[in-house]
């Protein structure tokens, strides 16, 4: 130590690293504040990026002799995967991307917890009555020369391992569903599922408690990781595609909280602060999404919306003896061209068909004719929070034309044509009118208030919720059957011939 140059000692001093961390926190929080508006968001994201870079550099300074080759190897590998993925991902594939990134974060947390256990798991449970560790002094570089009581470290480490493992596997399943590697419909063991999940959770926690109490068995630790992994799989597999926005937000919160737990275990404030920021974000989004679906988070996790809802939906379907009126692209074009105001209601169907550019083209064409075009965005339209906004932004739709549900709903009465593109459940009046409907109480876009409605849809198949949509039987509604992109394209070409 005495041979080290003064500068090195200074750079590795704990307080210097803490000062850097504090600067990083300020930049990160300031960056997140920038996300409050589209104009400040780019700068905000970059500010947050600088904050992250400072936190990483500060930690690297602390490395001392360090495992530089290993660090370089990991960073090069990560960059080789992360950079091309971020550059090439299509905006329609953002939900998958976010799910995958969530999983990767959770996976890292679980791996770190495992290594912690391998490294000093032998001290778990060895604290004395005073709460002092009787064994090894670990992390002395960070905790200075105080041996931290091992119990709380063990608790947070085990917690991080369980939550991280759930998040990793759950996110991978969510990715598989969104990428359509796995079927989007709910897959479950039926009613036994919840019991199985509960048993898995109890077993994982029991293993964790045993480890904290001093079971120095790596096998038990691995078993705990596997139990949590199974739980992650079983929790997400039964969740249908339409519930994905909630699941992704929830997994995001899990990853954040597990990172914060790792921070507690490693006594690292950067992990605690950044992890909690993510945890808060994920929690807020989860609540917003669940509220927008009028469903409780436990009910969504219990799963099987498509499965459970189908029964109730079938009853509702019988009541509809009404007829469905279908229209042609030419008629739709005329109707739209002579409207004063058109509200476009996009849904997942638009994302699947990648129709956002065609929609924008249609809107420009209509605006040229003096038609006012607005977009009504339901909070859970698509497969993740804000999904529609990103797609429309990609197609260059000005963001002030994108209206949130509460702002647009009073406007439908003054709307001539509502053009529903690949959205279903979020427009279903049953949510307001039919107490027996599984989606009763869910806030919807009240398109049936407008003068007329055109629905572009591939077929009469019900949406993910498996519920018949009364809107389609409304005499005001005309159905234009076809793929969203194709149908919108046809309307555009009909329009130009008018």
């Amino acid at each position: 130590m005495t041979q080290l140059p003064l500068a090195t000692i200074f750079l590795q001093a704990e307080s210097f690293i803490y000062v850097l961390y504090i600067i990083a926190f300020a930049l990160m929080i300031q960056g997140l504040r920038g996300l409050a508006g589209p104009k400040t968001a780019v700068l905000g994201n970059r500010t947050a990026g600088v904050g992250m870079a400072i936190a990483i550099i500060a930690t690297l300074l602390q490395q001392g002799e360090g495992n530089w080759a290993l660090i370089a190897l990991g960073i090069v590998l990560g960059a080789a995967v992360g950079v091309p993925a971020a550059r090439q991902v299509k905006m329609t594939a953002m939900p998958q991307m976010v799910a995958l990134f969530n999983g990767v974060g959770g996976g890292a947390v679980a791996l770190i917890a495992w290594v912690e256990f391998r490294s000093y798991g032998s001290t778990y449970g060895s604290h004395t009555v005073e709460g002092l560790s009787t064994k090894g002094v670990f992390l002395e570089r960070i905790v200075e020369h105080n041996a931290a009581p091992s119990t709380y470290i063990a608790i947070f480490s085990v917690l991080a391992a369980i939550v991280g493992s759930i998040s990793f596997w759950g996110s991978n399943i969510a990715f598989g569903k969104l990428q359509e590697i796995l079927p989007g419909r709910p897959i479950s063991l039926g009613p036994a599922q919840q019991i199985v999940n509960l048993v898995l959770l109890i077993l994982a926690l029991a293993a964790g408690v045993d480890l904290i109490a001093g079971a120095h068995s790596e096998l038990l630790f691995i078993a705990m990781l596997v139990l949590a992994a199974l739980l992650g799989n079983f929790v997400v597999l039964p969740i249908g595609g339409a519930d994905m926005p909630v699941v992704i937000a929830l997994l995001n919160a899990f990853t954040g909280v597990s990172a914060a737990a790792t921070g507690m275990a490693l006594n690292n404030p950067a992990l605690i602060v950044f992890g909690m920021l993510v945890g808060a974000s994920g929690t807020i989004l989860t609540n917003l999404m669940a509220k927008a679906m009028n469903r409780s988070i436990p009910a969504i996790i219990a799963g099987g919306f498509g499965g459970g809802g189908a029964v109730a939906g079938a009853e509702g379907a019988g009541e509809h003896a009404g007829t469905v009126r279908s229209t042609s692209a030419a008629d739709a074009a005329i109707q739209l061209a002579y409207a004063n105001r058109v509200v476009v209601v996009p849904g997942y169907g638009m994302a699947v068909a990648q129709a956002q550019h065609a929609v924008k083209e249609l809107a420009s064409e209509l605006e040229k004719r003096g038609v006012e075009v607005l977009y009504a965005i339901h909070p859970v339209a698509g497969r993740m929070p804000g999904h529609m906004n990103v797609l429309l932004a990609e197609a260059d739709v000005p963001y002030d034309q994108l209206k949130e549900m509460d702002d647009i709903n009073p406007e439908f009465q003054r709307t001539d044509v509502s053009l529903v593109i690949g959205a279903n459940d979020v427009t279903n009046p049953a949510a307001k009118n039919t107490p027996s409907s599984p989606i009763y109480g869910m806030p919807i876009l009240e398109v049936s208030d407008s003068q007329s409605v055109i629905v572009i849809k591939r077929s009469m198949n019900p949406g993910f919720a498996g519920i018949e949509n009364e809107l389609y039987y409304d005499p005001k509604t005309a159905m234009l059957f076809g793929d969203a992109k194709g149908a919108v394209g046809e309307i555009v070409s009909e329009l130009s011939e008018l």
């Binding site: 990483i56 790792t262 490693l266 006594n267 804000g386």
Partner: protein
């Protein structure tokens, strides 16, 4: 005493960071929720720091080192990928000139008043 303060200090940081997160993030509009999610992907890339700290633990064997290299790679994917993709996305939001200012507020009277009342 000193030992207890490590835990309590960290708990204080944890709780306060949670509150700051709630306050700051509640102000982010629905429009930007997808960039927020990819942004938080980048932020939980802080696990990279966790992996770096863990690499300083005593007595790492080959397997531990291998696991941590994967953790470093995962963290890097989060940080680099998360910030890049968020930047790409936000550029799309920024690039447009703002056309006409808001007009709908005045026109409708009846239902608008309660709506406006709730907001102000």
């Amino acid at each position: 005493m000193i030992l207890a303060s490590v835990l309590t200090t960290n708990l204080a940081i944890l709780v306060l960071a949670g509150f700051v997160g709630f306050i700051v993030i509640s102000k982010i509009p629905n429009t930007l929720h997808t960039p927020l999610m990819s942004g938080t992907n980048a932020i939980h890339g802080i696990v990279l720091v966790g992996a770096l700290v863990a690499l300083g633990l005593p007595g790492l064997d080959g397997l531990s080192k291998g696991l941590l290299v994967i953790a470093v790679a995962f963290g890097t994917i989060n940080v680099v990928g998360g910030f890049l993709v968020t930047d790409r996305m936000l550029d799309m939001f920024k690039s447009k000139p703002k056309p006409a200012p808001e007009q709908p507020s005045e026109a409708a009277d009846g239902q608008q008043s309660q709506d406006g009342g709730a907001k102000q």
